[in-house]
Amino acid sequence: MSLNRIINSKSFDIGKSLLAFNLRYNGKFVPHPPQYRCFRTQARSLAYAKDLFLGQINKAEVFPYPEIGNEELEELNQFVAPVEKFFNENVDSKKIDEDAKIPAETLDGLKELGLFGMQVPEEYGGLGLSNTMYARLGEITALDGSIAVTLAAHQAIGLKGILIAGTEAQKEKYLPKLASGEHVAAFCLTEPGSGSDAASVTTRATLSEDGTHYLLNGSKMWISNGGFADIMTVFAKTEVVDQEGVKKDKMTAFLVERAFGGITSGLPEDKMGIRGSNTCEVVYDNVPVPLENVIGEVGGGFKVAMNILNSGRFSMGSSGAGMMKKLIEMTAEYATTRKQFNKKLSEFGMIQEKFALMATNAFVMESMAYLTAGMMDRPGVPDCSLEAAIVKVFSSEGSWICVSEALQVLGGLGFTKNYAYERYLRDCRILLIFEGTNEILRMYIALTGMQYAGKILTGKIKEMKRGNLGMAVGMMGQKLRSSFGGTKDYGLTGKDGLVHPSLADSALKLEQNVYLFGSAVESVLYRYGKSIVDEQLVLKRVADVIINLFAMTAVLSRASRSISIGLRNHDHEVLLANTFCAEAFFKNNYMMTQLQKHAPENNDASIKKIAEQILEKRAYVCAHPLDRTF
């Protein structure tokens, strides 16, 4: 255990100095004297969330909370001012929602401000912002849902493929006009028959007779910016011959220009929310695509798609937080002036609870988003896909619930179009659906983690079988300890603890949860083996627990930093962190209890039976309560 500490504290120091760098997006970093070089030959595979599945806390990855340099922070604050001003003065969200269109002048203003090329490197005409800075600006663009989605569809996914997998030639050709907004991009993966099951696309790209270009045929659905995008990243099946000479259909990513011809866009969909964002069908009829427009490798499209989607997901945390902060202001203004029963609304317990919920959620969303962005901004190619998925699930559901509560505070007024609440509610609903539905992401989170844990555990079991006594004793000891309700000291609290003493209680709760989680994962894997893939209700609980664990980590890390450097109102942060951790602790314990074998708290079998019977008859099955049998 003490050896562990030494190693951890060394990586702590290296981590700390690495974090103090000024960073830019595309892996190039601006040297900041004094410079500490890390002599590693391969990129570190960041596994914070993954190691939680083994009951391990990789403190160095998340403590201390990521910081950006002073210069970068000043620049960021400079950026924030004109963008906020623009949104306050030039964006009429109500009109955009009513007309289901973003006015051309508004789009032009956004392009001039430079918001269409935030993450495009400076040499191609963009702003070259890091993930952290992008997340910060996302807090402001989130004030109008339609604009936020239009911008995200263009750069977070539309042109991201060129950034992460494009050749130098592709970048030089396409990025400058995309960064200035002269061309708008779109991401075309989903089809009428292929949504969550992305690998099942049927759009085909066949090589032409003379082998100089591909012919693209098929149709895509729900494409944001589909009506006017000039450049599209399209995913289609291509015939690939593998090493054994077998012909297979594999997905490939293509850079398609509307100017190639043969592309028709359907009418814009009439949506519940984000009505100003253009969403439509796009049909490809023998569109000629030159060979040099393949992004990445032929047949490597699925990986490109996943990498693109994983890289943009985390910003939903900061967008959600930005929106929540605005809503708290608006709602508080009302609650502190409106009186009923001769008391201000703000004096009633149930109203106060809503504000606490909104503040806590905003706090967690912010903490998680910037922790993940900070992790992603480290040098190398860190794999934060798990953490990003966690941020997305929590933020989408948190936003939906909190907007609903904010609307409730205003009662009838909140329900009218005179106020923005109903529009925010309608705009929020899509967050749980796009960018990977929350159901899919929960499966992804749980299965990725369990796969990782399974591999390590099978490795340990193999060692044991080979006669590694030390391993066997270690594992038995662990099992005994956990069955007696013991816990492990992860080094978060105490003399050398990484967490500030005022958060010690919450840190202990986190440690307890993580330890229990490790053994819960182990027993679930043991019980189900490979068939765990089909046990969605079990996986859902696993995912929910780890989401809470990451959230607890993020708030503890952030609050510790705030106290240590003496940020304004850090006592309030401690309060928020402790309150959230206390609630999450009990929820986690309950869910982990439900995961135990034959747990009476687990209703899964009954739930499945009910669903079976209803879906068999495709209707509600019960006889009417007023029916008689005689």
Binding site: E74, E75, Q78, A81, P82, F86, E112, L113, E122
Partner: protein, 254 residues
């Protein structure tokens, strides 16, 4: 003529923020409150940058007096198109008592040092509402002044200024070098776009101390107390004109 224009910019509490008076009534709460460039200063910067774009002048220099934070404001001016900045360092304590007289002494000294052809300022700052700095600066330099400008035209060695006055509009012709103060309708300031903010990072901001300019910052004014305006009282409805007259007589107004 040097073709150099000096523009003064002030960092003030943002116009949209609700102002709160400090509990000890010594001033208003500024900590943690959003600050931005004084709106009239933005108009002044915009006018100077426009003149440069029309090639009527050669260089726009943005000046601000105050503690470290005012550099943000100078950077915004640079992002709008100013060529370089001058930060006159004033400690936070001295800044509390810094008023139009001190600032105009500083600006006058700088104008002589930089051989400025024009000084453009906002007509007033939205925190002090003094409306004195432009006029005092002109007087100290013995330069002509075109205040409350809603239209400015540079012609050779003169400036034609259309001023907004109580009775309407007044057009005057003054010689350069001169001091102009910008009024609301002079122009619509541009947004500092993010690419321009990044370009502005490369522009220089020089640091100067008031002592270097030979200016004494001591003020003869002392703020005794700051109070919030009284809450608006409810009105009274009257039934007839006779009632109204009676009530007015009661209040002693007629």
């Amino acid at each position: 003529m040097s073709g150099r224009v000096l523009v003064g910019v002030k960092r003030v509490i943002d116009y949209a923020v609700k102002i709160r008076v400090k509990p000890d009534h010594s001033g208003v709460v500024t900590e943690g409150v959003k600050h931005s460039m004084n709106p009239f200063c933005e108009i002044a910067v915009e006018e100077a940058v426009k003149m440069k774009e029309k090639k009527l002048i050669k260089e726009v220099v943005a000046v601000s007096c105050g503690p470290q934070q005012v550099q943000e404001t100078i950077r915004t001016a640079l992002a709008m198109g100013a060529d370089r900045g001058i930060h006159v360092e004033v400690s936070a304590k001295e800044y509390e008592s810094l008023g139009p007289l001190q600032v105009s002494k500083i600006l006058a000294a700088l104008a002589k040092k930089e051989e400025a052809q024009l000084i453009i300022l906002g007509k007033q700052a939205i925190d002090g509402d003094c409306n004195q700095t432009g006029q005092m600066t002109a007087a100290l330099l013995d330069w002509p002044q075109g205040t409350f400008a809603s239209e400015v035209t540079l012609e050779g060695g003169h400036v034609k200024v259309v001023r907004e006055i109580d009775g309407g509009l007044e057009t005057i012709k003054i010689n350069t070098p001169a001091v102009l103060t910008a009024d609301l309708r002079l122009n619509t300031p541009r947004y500092a776009t993010l690419p321009n903010i990044m370009k502005a990072k490369k522009k220089k901001i020089a640091n100067v101390k008031p002592a270097d300019l030979g200016v004494e910052l001591a003020s003869k004014l002392q703020v005794l107390r700051v109070d919030a305006p009284p809450q608006r009282e409810a009105g009274v409805k009257v039934e007839s004109v006779a009632d109204l007259v009676a009530k007015l007589k009661e209040a002693g107004t007629i």
